[in-house]
Amino acid sequence: MKTFSLFKKDWQSELRTRYAINALAMFILVTISVIMFSIGSEKITEYLTGGLLWVVIFFSAMSGLSRAFVSEEERGTTMTLHLIASPSTIFSGKLIFNLLLVFLMNFVITFLFSVLFSSFIIKNFALFAIAFLFGNIGIAISSTIIAAIISKASSKGTLYPVLSFPILLPLILTLLELTKFAMDGNSIGSSLVEIAVLVCYDVIMLTASYLLFDFIWEE
């Protein structure tokens, strides 16, 4: 309940300030436009569109998801949060907020890809949905804990992608593989190893994040 209240506060605040939503929307618009201009009338392969999808998702996440903690630090309200909630409540609340943002952002990106790129064809939709679900959860967890780490640093903008890259790399590589399988029409049964890697990544990141957050949150 406390976690949900913190999420509600953040969501209400986001709707009024548009701190993260505007950054995400602009980034999605700009990157997809740049891709479309650079492709021109060229016909690109299915696999390339699948790869570009996760590239756009990765960089969009870099542009907007750090805001959960950075906005608190920039507005000076981090101490206020310290005074009203335990670290686990704060992390859970911020994680739910980022989960919602990631799902919204990735639905929009995937929808735009399917509309704008004729070669973006998913043959096994269920497999893609599984990858999408666990991939989004992984991105949200990693982005939230990295945002907490960098929020007190002076060069947040640079540090966030630099720290995120090695942490998100195994996740993105697995997602690329699963997207390729979904485009090939492979069955879920033949992709179980990759799905297991995704689930393990999410579980490990979630456990490590909860264990680490107390130390990160302490000044």
């Binding site: 506060k9 206020t80 005074l83 000044e219």
Partner: protein, 200 residues
Amino acid sequence: MTDYTVELDNLVKYFGRRLIFNGINFSFSAQNIYGISGPNGSGKSTLVKIIANLISPTRGKVIHKNNLKEVEPVKLHNHIGFVAPYLFLYDEFTAEENLLHFSNIRGISFDKERSDYLLNELKLIDRKNDLVRGYSSGMKQRLKFIFALLHQPKLIILDEPTSNLDNPGKEKFYELIKKEAKNNLVIIASNEDSDIALCS
């Protein structure tokens, strides 16, 4: 009656290589108002932040006890009310929305009667539905008092509490703090003579 105590056990704080204070031992008990005074940069704010568990000491520890039982650090925030010039509330919310969110996040039901009582006492009742963004610094300071007192904390920590307040605001603050100190523990970090004069 509250039996809330805070014990400082050999506190040492360094920022980098700079020693802020060394070997502080003290015991605070409820129904008292304590004052921490000293020149700028002497570590008053650092000390109250350590007491409030907002930052960690380099060495030593702070033990909070409520009715002789040690308070767990993760639950400490429920017992503390804190006011400081470097504390900020959410500008994009109204005063009442801020207080409502804070109560919900603490996991306690919003006490509208107490909220209205405090808003009325601190002359903010007519502006409670205005965004905090539009408040003056003095009004924001008054709202911070309400934030600190709304959940009826047992330990009230006030760092430079009367900064930005006008004279009627200061008088009202002194009145409220004297009332709170009848049951609770109050610690004031300030160099204002009138603030320190409150100490028992």
